[in-house]
Symmetry: C2
Subunit: 416 residues, 2 copies
Amino acid sequence: MSAGNLPVSGSRLWDSLMQMARIGATPKGGCNRQTLTDLDGEGRALLRRWAGEIGCSVTLDRVGNMVVRREGREPSLPAVAMGSHLDTQPTGGRFDGVLGVLAGLEVLRALHEAGIETQAPVVLINWTNEEGARFSPPMMGSGVAMGLFSEEEVLAKSDPSGAIFGEELRRIGWRGEEDPRSLQRLGAYFELHIEQGPLLEAEGIPVGVVDKALGQIWLDVTVEGEEAHAGSAMGPRRDAMMAAAQLIQAVEEIALEAGGDGRATVGRLLVSPDSRNVVPSRIWFSVDLRHGDPAALSAMSEAVRRRAEEISAARQVSARVDLFWESPLIPFDPALVDRLRQAAAGRGLPFRTMPTGIGHDAVYVARRVPTAMIFVPCEGGVSHNEAEAISPEWAEAGLVVLADAVLATARPVREE
Amino acid sequence: MSAGNLPVSGSRLWDSLMQMARIGATPKGGCNRQTLTDLDGEGRALLRRWAGEIGCSVTLDRVGNMVVRREGREPSLPAVAMGSHLDTQPTGGRFDGVLGVLAGLEVLRALHEAGIETQAPVVLINWTNEEGARFSPPMMGSGVAMGLFSEEEVLAKSDPSGAIFGEELRRIGWRGEEDPRSLQRLGAYFELHIEQGPLLEAEGIPVGVVDKALGQIWLDVTVEGEEAHAGSAMGPRRDAMMAAAQLIQAVEEIALEAGGDGRATVGRLLVSPDSRNVVPSRIWFSVDLRHGDPAALSAMSEAVRRRAEEISAARQVSARVDLFWESPLIPFDPALVDRLRQAAAGRGLPFRTMPTGIGHDAVYVARRVPTAMIFVPCEGGVSHNEAEAISPEWAEAGLVVLADAVLATARPVREE
């Protein structure tokens, strides 16, 4: 252990995770604590109580982001922040988001118990509505804070039952007075999160140092052929389904050939006219492309367009490829990424550098604030699922890396 | 022209087609005359009026099948029948079904005008609900007549608005007293129909002599992999969509390799969980396989199962292939098929022998009654569509072949 190591307690973190998991616990061992429900309010209240027990202040902004603050020797310095989210999917797990918040709490507890004063303030943020399951889109709290969404727009969002975000926030009593955009003045932001993928577990590595968020391009592909009876001969068919199947295969090949961080997903597909004995005239499907290299990402997108043209020409169908949405590559802060590597090395923990292909509050925060993320494994890569599971050892590995990096960034005041 | 040729009128047939097409005419030039609607009643009434004008009787059975009868010299002989259906799809054309009924009417008119007496009675049948668009399944009238469906079952069917078949039949005034199953005693059945496929037009051949209905096997395929985030690495994915796309491609290859009459269609596909940024865990799709050779058909089905096993093993997903429905190969009556060939040859019309891959009333009738079908081309193979089109020449080609074959089968009484 290096001198800067903070004596955090993995078992206390685990106990807190299990206590929080009781709020919204589901029969299958998961959590249903959706944003701005009464249960979300209960989870927030528990965090506020725990924060109060270690002398931290809690402030709220106008979209409900909670900021737990431990003052620094120099209150005017930009705060060093940790954070994630307490809200879950409807059939969510006990760790997605919660681990990052409660590990941050454990860092504050350890600082408190060890009586360590830091130069910069240390804050812990529970972002509102990361999941986007009840109110879409996801990452609303961090999105408003970083200026990507307007406050008014978010407050007016409605859930499928017609409930309004702003009204629900007020109803559960967690609407504050702070300007969310004041969080753009943070000095650094660290987020610990479960990987939500199987790589770390498969490689037996407890810590992922996340150095960037992959760029994403979302496409709409529409293949149009000609409706025909299922009894008609194969030769003259202009079968939209068969053309789409070939193109979907090509999309996979494109991601595999792109190598490295290349990913491609076809998550939705609609058939028209959708009848067992009618050759489809029209197939629509979504394509989600991701890559850590912007040039490689746009090459993937171009390759999809090229293959769509080739396949449609060969099959005498038409294929239209439209851009639905894109998100640029977000590099994390190199100095903070290095600090995470040093923290892992300092604790003797194997780690690997990796991108996140998944959206997190950190990805929005990184647009305005120096940011880095830590991943820990989750069993089988399963998440957004009641079966989501991690081991206490994995939780602790992420915790100590977070703790040491935060302390190194906020800088302990040395007693001379 | 051989001596037995009947002087039918192609232009009178065309006029009748155009008159019938006014009942339920759509703005785009098609027809919406769905079964057991008021418009269906109007179409039936027009046919009854035309039949009366040439001295034919019209009887009705308990599921609404209309039988127009021209008595023979020997009324006790099994009748020689022609038929098809006047009902259409919601956005149907002017010829699908209607051509066969009104060509049959033209044959009766010509017999009447020429004063030809036949040994056997000649009947024309307008089958109830061939399309199955309003009340599913299709071919209900012929299905009940041939004993494939029970009368009670069909009378109790409801349409999407909740209307009941039996009540609608009574409401429009076309429920009769005859036992539908008495139609199993027909001596022969000929059905003229548009091809609903592009082969005849492409080959420039005006007459298809249909010698069999292809066997069909309908499969349900369920591919199950593992849900994953679209940001997760490609390597460990067990992507149900990519496996399904590969298997759908294989289904097409299997049909192409089966050659000849082999057909394969994937007309429906459902994705779960159906989200743009989630790797699908489950894909269900339908497979419709057809072939004129029963051994080749079951080999196709086996090949789908084998490829499903290979692909699922290679991709570490599971693929279940379930039989949903099957229909055997139905050979048509060789003597009647020959009679159609002779009729076409006798008129100097190029023809080809071909199977039907599509269900028709004739396919059910063939289970109990010697049957054959005649196809004529339709433009671009388009059908079940307001754009459905044929030329008056094609209509006449089918008409004369029908007329001559019917006359040869019912046998004119020679005046000595």
